[in-house]
């Protein structure tokens, strides 16, 4: 059941992304920015947490989940450190994902050659 929920919710979020690709002239970078900022806003409004509880990876794997992670991080940091938490919370929560992307991208660039398109 958890798997079905993850599949359905994740699939729907990606279908939303596809609608933006097909119906608007937004570039992939803008769509990804939209998903992250949208995730922050939905998390701030208290909508994303219940969705993540319901769908698990279906809500956290799409990039809106990255926004949710940023919002959750800043919330926890403000609770813990007050004003300074505003500056540390977001990036701290996202640091694992960002660092992983940098490390694996660097390794991939060392070992693989770009394919002809």
């Amino acid at each position: 059941m958890e798997y079905l929920k993850a599949f359905l919710v994740g699939g729907i979020l990606c279908a939303v992304g596809q609608i933006f690709i097909d119906r608007t002239k937004l570039t992939p970078a803008r769509i990804l920015v939209g998903f992250v900022v949208g995730g922050v806003i939905l998390s701030a409004l208290g909508i994303y947490e219940p969705l993540a509880d319901f769908a698990g990876a279906g809500a956290t794997v799409p990039l809106s989940g990255f926004g949710h992670l940023l919002a959750k991080g800043v919330r926890a940091a403000v609770n813990e450190k007050g004003l300074l938490g505003i500056f540390t919370g977001g990036i701290t929560a996202a640091s694992g994902g960002i660092t992983a992307a940098i490390v694996f991208a660097f390794i991939a660039a060392l070992f693989f050659k770009p394919k002809d398109k």
């Binding site: 596809q18 769908a55 794997v61 990039l63 990255f66 994902g97 694996f104």
Partner: protein
Amino acid sequence: MSVSPKEYKKMEEKAAPKTKSLRNLSGAFFIGGAFCLLGQALLELYKNLGMGSPSASLLTSVSLIALSAVLTGIGVYDKIAKFGGGGTLVPITGFANAVVSPAMEYKSEGFVLGLGVKIFTVAGPVIVYGTLASVVYGAIYYIMNKI
């Protein structure tokens, strides 16, 4: 009945996008759903190995990013993206792909000014505006707590 090229184009536009966008939509749904399904499987695997929820969630993201880097490296991710569309863009694997691709592409222009600069071509804006949004939210949250 004769149809001018212009009219024909209009008719074509009317007829074609529906089936095409439906195919795109289902492609995005199934591929995106599959990545999330894989994410869920990894999440539960790591939890069963005794990890707490935040650690299991982070390791799931790291695993998917690593997988995406390999698939991008061997040229498979771009092939999946041809019919996956939004399903390969929206998941964290798409974010990773957007970091790995320019890193590979621009390595030839040097490690600092090529790879180092271009690696964040797409991820940069995502991190910039994600961080700004989190700061705005953090400030509002801080003020609301004070009132």
